[in-house]
């Protein structure tokens, strides 16, 4: 039975509903803040002020957003092919191995603009390779991709400990991380762009990989909606039977989609390593791969939505850090609760308010609303 709700205009579907969901998340978060005895309005002000108030905050917000764009795109590409890639965390982490090797080898001999493309290739290749094995197991053996990619997160974590301790860290060092990259492997900052608008930035890691992220968002859009490969991926994602009927090879499409997804996840490692810390350290991904799932869901699997959702999560990260600093009663864990609420309402409960909004629209202006065909199932 098809749901008889009126279809919403695009602006309401992609604009109004996320805003309502977000507003509800903040109202509930406000109650939580109230519960610990702080003023929710002031907390909200601190959060927004911290994320967007000053140039410094904006730069940090966009720095966090950069990583989330990559991981969100990674999840979205796999999802369009009907695959739930939970392995972005591991694929991004293992990409650090490729980046580390490239940077350590070339940072003294090449300028950054030559090291960067090599590192992009290495990161993408490592991420893709790490996704290839679960993809192969899914395509050939039917091992569920959710299970295998989760397991591969753990394997990646162990491999990285082994690599960092075993051969990536400088001899004699006690810290499980590479030496600091030389200038040949440090990405130029983009802070000056924000400064053009008159803001002041002391130091922030907002760097050129943000542009790479935007370029990837565009390329993902082209891939999904404008190429034959994307068409095949979407067909398989919606109906594996229809894909079989259309002569699309299941094995091939699963493997390709997962490798692209893994490559995108791998690229998220560029931002924290070459862009910020200038080394590859233990656990540098720190959960960004999982945030990508929420970002992709909230962005409705569309690159534009993903960029916006990534900026929102960047704001929560940056503003949240400020909030924890400004209001001692609100600990770091409270910030995680607030982020969790946003994920809950914007991601998991995405459709909670949709029927009401649709009913409202239908009663307000029946003419402007397209109606789903009332399909008599009979006749």
């Amino acid at each position: 039975m098809s749901m008889p709700y009126a279809k919403l205009p695009a602006w309401a579907d992609y604009g109004l509903i996320p805003v309502i969901n977000l507003a509800v998340a903040f109202v509930v978060a406000g109650f939580v803040v109230l519960l610990v005895g702080e003023n929710p309005f002031r907390a909200a002000a601190v959060l927004v002020e911290g994320a967007f108030g000053r140039g410094q905050g904006i730069a940090f917000t966009l720095f966090y957003a950069t990583t989330f764009i990559f991981s969100g795109l990674s999840v979205a590409v796999a999802a369009h092919c009907g695959l739930f890639n939970i392995g972005g965390e591991g694929q991004g982490y293992i990409a650090g191995l490729g980046i580390g090797i490239v940077c350590l080898a070339f940072d003294s001999v090449l300028p950054w603009w030559l090291t960067f493309p090599l590192a992009i290739i290495a990161a993408a290749a490592m991420g893709a390779l790490w996704a290839l094995i679960p993809a192969y197991l899914q395509a050939k053996r039917g091992s569920h991709i959710v299970i295998t990619t989760i397991m591969f997160n753990f394997i990646a974590a162990s491999v990285m400990v082994y690599a960092l301790v075993g051969f990536l860290k400088p001899p004699g060092s006690m810290a499980p991380q590479t030496r600091t990259f030389l200038e040949g492997a440090q990405l130029p900052k983009l802070n000056w762009v924000i400064e053009l608008f008159g803001a002041k930035i002391r130091s922030a890691p907002f760097n050129i990989s943000f542009l790479l992220a935007l370029a990837m968002a565009f390329l993902v859009w082209v891939l999904i909606w404008r190429t034959r490969l994307g068409y095949e991926m979407r067909t398989y994602g919606h109906s594996s039977k229809a894909a079989r009927y259309a002569g699309i090879s299941e094995t091939r499409i699963i493997i390709i989609a997962m490798m692209i997804s893994g490559a995108l996840a791998g690229m998220m490692a560029l931002n924290p390593t070459m862009g910020d810390q200038h080394n590859v350290a233990l656990e540098f991904v720190s959960g960004a791969g999982f945030v990508g799932i929420a970002v992709a869901l909230m962005g409705r699997l569309h690159p534009v939505g993903i960029v916006l959702a990534a900026i929102l999560f960047g704001m929560l990260y940056q503003g949240g850090a400020e909030l924890a600093f400004e209001m001692p009663a609100i600990s770091r864990d409270m910030i995680v609760i607030i982020q969790g609420l946003v994920i809950l309402f914007a991601g998991a409960l995405e459709h909670m308010f949709r029927p009401y909004v649709q009913a409202l629209f239908a009663s307000l202006s029946p003419r402007s609303v397209g109606i789903e065909a009332i399909k008599g199932k009979g006749a």
Partner: protein
């Protein structure tokens, strides 16, 4: 004294600007079989959904057994003794029959006790109404005809006194349909009330006591079945006169276009579904495969089109053999001029979430006409889709509309347009008019005959015997995975029916 089991008084229901039901008044007499007919979108499913508690009416009153009733959910409906058998079955595919029957009506906290209790009850129901189903069979392994019996059993198990059947014979063969009708008559004799939603006028005439006709959300007429005719009902439904039987000239069959050789297909459990089948289809003829659903027709179609791997066998396409046992690829067969309209357009023939134009290239998305290098040529695809929309009168004429929003008949036209416009040498069609309204059936049949007259080889598999008889130049009957007979189009229904039932009948052949 005739007593109303259900009275609907002034029912209105709108979805946004669409008024699906307007001022519907309907009285269904207890212990009768009441038919409701109407085209797609006439509002019959909406009306029944209101009665079954899926939707609430905007205004109006429902009375069950003379008492005003408030039906807010299917649970309320079940409590009032209303049961529903949906066209699209509401069964859990990987549960057994028994598990499905008790689902939501478990009598005990422990499953084991519920099942034991249900088993004896089920056996009683099966005996009483001739509804034999193996209670331990897994649903997805049952043919649709049996799955439907499970749906009926489910309703009876819940104590239904009033049974609503939505397009119950859409997936059944004459034999299965006859069996269903026997069951329905038996139910009626025991005092149950049956509401039958259908678009098959022949069935209405055969089994109902009263018939109501809906058109565009209104109830246009209620007749006693004995006092009306098929012609009158069709006219009431469509609002104009309709052609009930296709007109076609003699076939001019040419050389063999499609030769199926020694095809054997097994299902996932290793049961032989198609058993060493060979036949030819010539250019310029329509060969119809008749048979009761579940006798291997679906598997045969899937094997011939390369979707399902065969155990043995090959097809000869235009004189070139293609082995079907290896990794037969639907794409390769398509390249060799074999177009396939699959039985299941919702999951196989179309991607319902796609825009119409995206579906109009499904399977032909490798064709350079639709591509610029690795990129889709969006303009070419949409222009092409618009052409087909005009040519096949697909409505609404919007190639950007989501495919799920088209009616069944128009969805089928999208598939047909795609496959026919590729100018294939061979066209194989599964259930060409399943779930398609009267007006579209006429159109589809004419198109198939036009293909034949262009010298194409057309293979039609249908469980609608009427359709097979009016379309085919030769009829092959399938039973238990084998072709048990070949007849001309003049074969009588009884003769074909016997073959379909697996009865070797000499007189029939003579």
């Amino acid at each position: 004294m005739a007593q109303a089991a259900i009275e609907l008084i002034g029912i209105n229901k709108s979805f946004g600007a669409v008024r699906a039901n307007r001022d519907i008044n309907l009285e269904i007499v207890r212990g009768t079989i009441h038919g409701i007919v109407g085209e797609n979108g006439a509002g019959k499913s909406t009306l029944m959904s209101i009665l079954y508690g899926f939707y609430q009416a905007d205004s109006g009153e429902i009375r069950v057994g003379g008492q005003p009733a408030s039906i807010k959910s299917p649970n309320d409906a079940i409590a009032l003794g209303i049961g529903m058998v949906h066209q699209h079955f509401m069964l859990v595919d990987n549960f057994t029959v028994l598990e499905n029957v008790i689902l939501g009506a478990e009598s005990d906290a422990l499953l084991k006790k519920s099942i034991a209790k249900a088993r004896s009850e089920l056996e009683r129901l099966e005996r009483e109404y001739g509804l034999e189903v193996d209670p331990d069979a897994i649903i997805e392994e049952l043919p649709v005809g049996l799955q439907q019996r499970v749906e009926i059993l489910k309703a009876l198990y819940r104590g239904a006194e009033i049974l609503i059947l939505d397009e119950p014979t859409g997936v059944l063969t004459p034999a299965e349909a006859d069996h269903l009708f026997r069951i329905l008559r038996q139910l009626k004799e025991q005092g149950k009330t049956i509401v039958l939603i259908t678009h098959k006028l022949r069935e209405i005439m055969a089994i109902t006591d009263t018939v109501s006709v809906m058109r565009q959300g209104t109830m246009v007429a209620t007749r006693e079945t004995t006092k009306t005719t098929v012609g009158e009902l069709a006219e009431l439904m469509v609002g104009r006169r309709v052609l009930l039987r296709v007109e076609k000239g003699e076939a001019e069959a040419g050389g063999v276009k499609l030769a199926v050789k020694n095809l054997t297909v097994k299902d996932s459990r290793g049961v032989t579904m198609v058993d060493d089948v060979s036949f030819d289809v010539r250019a310029g003829e329509i060969v119809g495969i008749a048979g009761v659903a579940g006798n291997g027709q679906s598997e045969m179609l899937e094997a011939i089109s390369g979707i399902r791997r065969a155990v043995s066998g090959s097809v000869m396409l235009d004189g070139k053999p293609i082995d079907l046992t290896g990794a037969a690829d639907p794409g390769e067969l398509r390249d060799r001029g074999l177009a396939h309209v699959p039985e299941d357009r919702h999951h196989v023939g179309l991607v319902l979430a796609f825009e119409e134009n995206e579906n109009s290239i499904l399977g032909y998305h490798d064709d350079p006409r639709y591509l610029k290098g690795p990129f889709l040529d969006i303009d070419a695809i949409r222009d092409d889709a618009r052409d087909k929309i005009t040519k096949y009168d697909i409505r609404p004429a919007d190639c950007r509309l989501k495919t799920a929003n088209f009616s069944g008949g128009n969805q089928q036209k999208i598939v047909l347009a795609r496959e026919m416009e590729q100018d294939p040498g061979v066209l194989i069609v599964g259930q060409p008019t399943r779930g398609v309204d009267v007006g579209a059936i006429e159109f589809i049949h004419k198109r198939l005959i036009a293909m034949r007259d262009q010298g194409k080889a057309v293979l039609v598999v249908s469980v609608e015997l009427d359709e097979i008889r009016s379309l085919s130049d030769r009829i092959l009957v399938m039973f238990a995975g084998r072709i048990v007979g070949e007849r001309g189009p003049e074969a009588t229904e009884g003769e074909l029916g016997l073959l379909m039932a697996g009865v070797e009948h000499r007189e029939a052949a003579e």
